[in-house]
C-alpha cells in the first residue's frame, strides 16, 4: 500500500495560515459564490430544459444536439471567430507601432500617450453611439473622408459585409492601453544591448528583429491571450448597433444576422426565447472554446516567446 503524501505543516505555517485566512476569505467566498458555483450550476442547467420559472427537467444531451443542428449557432460562432481573428492581430500591430513611435526621442510623448489612451477608458456604449454617427452613410464623416480619396460610399452598418469590420474598427479605439504596456516593455530593454549590437554592425532593422521583438514577446503573448478572451465575449457594440432585441431587431441581429455574435445569441436564447438550458449549453461551449484557444496560443508561443534567462 502506498502511503498518501501527508501535508506536514509546522506550527509557524499553521499560525501564518490562520493569520492570512481572514484577509483572503472575501476572495474565497466570492470565487465560490460568483464564479465556481455558477459554472457548475450552468453545467447542470445545460442538461436540463428550463425556462427560468418552475422546475428544470432533465433532457440529457438534447440542448447540445439542438445547438449542433442550429445554423444560427454556427453563424454566431463564425461571426465571433471572424471578428476576433481580425480585431486581435490588428490591435496588436497598432499597439506595437504606437509604442515603437512613442519610444523614439519625441519630447512631447506625454501628449500622444494621453490622446491615444483616452478612448480606451471611455464607456464602450457611448463610443458605439458615436460610431453610429461617424459611420452614417448619409452624413457620417468617415464616408466623407473616404470620398475625398476616391473610395465609393460604404454602407458600414447596413451592408452585412461591412458590419463586423465596423466593430473591428471600433475595437481599435482600445489599442491605447496595450500600447502603453508595450511602451513600458520597450523602455525596460537595456540600451547596452542596442549599443553592443550597433558596434557589431547590426542595422536598425536587424536590431528590431533580433533585440526588440524577442524582448517584448512575453507581452505579445499576454496581449494575444487576453485579447482573444475579450474578443470572444464581444456583445455590447453589436447589441447597441442592432437596437437590442425588440422591434425588427427581434428577428435578425443586424443585416443577414451579420452581428449575431456568440454572446449575443446566448443572450437571446436566455432572455428573449427563455431557453436557459440551451443558453447554458452555449455558455459551457464558450468556456471550453476559451480555454482551448488560450491553451493553443500558449502551446504555439513556445516557438516564439523568449524568456530572459537570469
Amino acid at each position: 500500500m502506498i502511503a498518501a503524501p501527508r501535508f506536514h505543516l509546522s506550527k509557524a505555517d499553521r499560525r501564518n495560515l490562520r493569520t492570512a485566512a481572514p484577509f483572503i476569505l472575501p476572495w474565497v467566498i466570492g470565487f465560490f459564490a460568483f464564479t465556481l458555483y455558477p459554472i457548475g450550476y450552468s453545467l447542470y442547467l445545460s442538461f436540463n430544459s428550463y425556462s427560468g420559472f418552475g422546475d428544470a427537467t432533465p433532457v440529457g444531451l438534447a440542448n447540445y444536439q439542438h445547438l449542433v443542428s442550429d445554423p444560427l449557432f454556427w453563424k454566431s460562432l463564425y461571426n465571433t471567430l471572424y471578428y476576433t481573428g481580425l480585431a486581435v492581430p490588428i490591435g496588436l500591430v497598432i499597439a506595437i507601432v504606437l509604442a515603437l513611435m512613442m519610444n523614439q526621442r519625441v519630447r512631447e510623448v506625454a501628449i500622444y500617450r494621453a490622446a491615444v489612451y483616452l478612448p480606451s477608458i471611455l464607456p464602450l456604449f457611448a463610443l458605439t453611439f458615436i460610431f453610429i454617427v461617424l459611420l452614417n452613410p448619409r452624413f457620417g464623416i468617415v464616408n466623407y473622408l473616404l470620398t475625398l480619396v476616391g473610395v465609393p460610399t460604404i454602407n458600414w452598418l447596413g451592408d452585412p459585409r461591412w458590419t463586423k469590420i465596423s466593430i473591428v474598427l471600433l475595437a481599435q479605439l482600445g489599442a491605447g492601453g496595450p500600447a502603453l504596456i508595450f511602451l513600458a516593455a520597450l523602455r525596460a530593454v537595456p540600451s547596452e544591448l542596442y549599443e553592443s549590437a550597433s558596434i557589431d554592425g547590426a542595422g536598425p532593422l536587424r536590431r528590431f528583429r533580433h533585440i526588440t521583438i524577442p524582448l517584448i514577446t512575453p507581452v505579445i503573448l499576454y496581449d494575444l491571450i487576453y485579447g482573444t478572451i475579450l474578443g470572444v465575449q464581444i456583445f455590447t457594440p453589436a447589441y447597441i448597433l442592432v437596437g437590442g432585441t425588440s422591434g425588427s431587431a427581434a428577428y435578425t441581429a443586424g443585416p443577414d444576422n451579420s452581428l449575431l455574435f456568440y454572446v449575443f445569441y446566448l443572450y437571446k436564447n436566455a432572455f428573449q426565447y427563455s431557453d436557459m438550458g440551451v443558453a447554458s449549453a452555449m455558455a459551457w461551449v464558450l468556456f471550453v472554446i476559451s480555454v482551448l484557444l488560450a491553451l493553443a496560443i500558449m502551446r504555439w508561443s513556445r516557438y516564439w516567446v523568449h524568456y530572459e534567462v537570469s
Binding site: A115, L118, P123, M276, A279, F287, S290
Partner: protein
Amino acid sequence: MQRRFARRRWGRFFNRTLPDSLGPRLVLIAMCALFLLPFWSMATAALKTTQELSTFPPTFFPRSFAWENFSRAVNYIPFGTFFLNSVYLTFWIALGAAISNPLIAYGFSRVKWPGRDILFGFVLATIFIPFPVLIVALFDIFAKLHWIDTFLPMIVPAFFGNPFFIFLMRQFFLGLPNEISEAARIDGANEFQIFLYVIMPLARPAVAVVVIFAAVAAWGEFLAPLLYLQDETKYPLSIGLQFYRQEHDVSYNLLMAASTLIVLPVVALFIAFQRFFIEGVTVGSVKG
C-alpha cells in the same frame, strides 16, 4: 564645385531641422487625430442643429452653436434619474473595490503561508474566465435571491475582489520592505492593525489607482445592468441612452449631447489623475 557645396548646405539644413524623430512624430500625430476623431465628432454633432447634422458633406465645425441641444437632451429622457443611478452604482462599486482588494492582496503578499502562491495562480487564472459564461446561472441565482431589479447583483460582487485589482495591490505590497511590518509586530500590533495603521496609509496611491479603474469600469458597465434591471427608473445611463432611439426616429444631436455629458466626467477624471491611470495600466508589464 558649387553644386557639391550647395548639396552639403542642404544636407546640413535637413539634418538640423528634420531630426530622426520627424517620421515617428508624423505617424503619432496622424494616429492621435484618428483616436480623437470620434471625440471631436461627438462634441460637434452635439452642438449642431438637426438640419446641419443631416447635410452632406458634414461640417467639421458647427456653423451655429445649438446649446439648447443639451437642455433638450436632458429633458428628452429622464436623464437626471439615469445619471443618479449611474453615480450610485459607481460609488458603491468603487467603495467595494477600495475595501476588498487591498485586504485580499495583503493576505497574498504580506503573510507567508503554505500554498499561497499556488492559490494566487488561481486568482490570476480567473481573469481568463469570460463573464458571459456565468450570466445565465448568475441571473437564476440572483432571481432566487430576489435581487433582480435591485442594484445588488452589480454592487455585492465588487466587495469580494477582482483579480486585476488584487494583482495590482499585491505588486504594490510586495514592493514595501518587511522591516516596517516587523517593527509594528515587535510593538505588539496584530496583523489587522499592521494592515490598517501601517500598510494602508502607505498604499493610498495604489488604492487610488484601484478606485479610479473600478469607477471608470462601473460607469461604462453595460451587460450586467441590462441583465438585472427591468424597471426603467432604475436604469443607469448605459441602458437609458437607448431611449433616444425610437424606431425610425433618432435624434442624433441629442444622443451626442447626452454622450458628451456621459463622457465628460471620465475625461475630467483622466486629466486630473493621468499619472494614476498610466501607472495602473503598466503595472502588468512589471510581470513581463
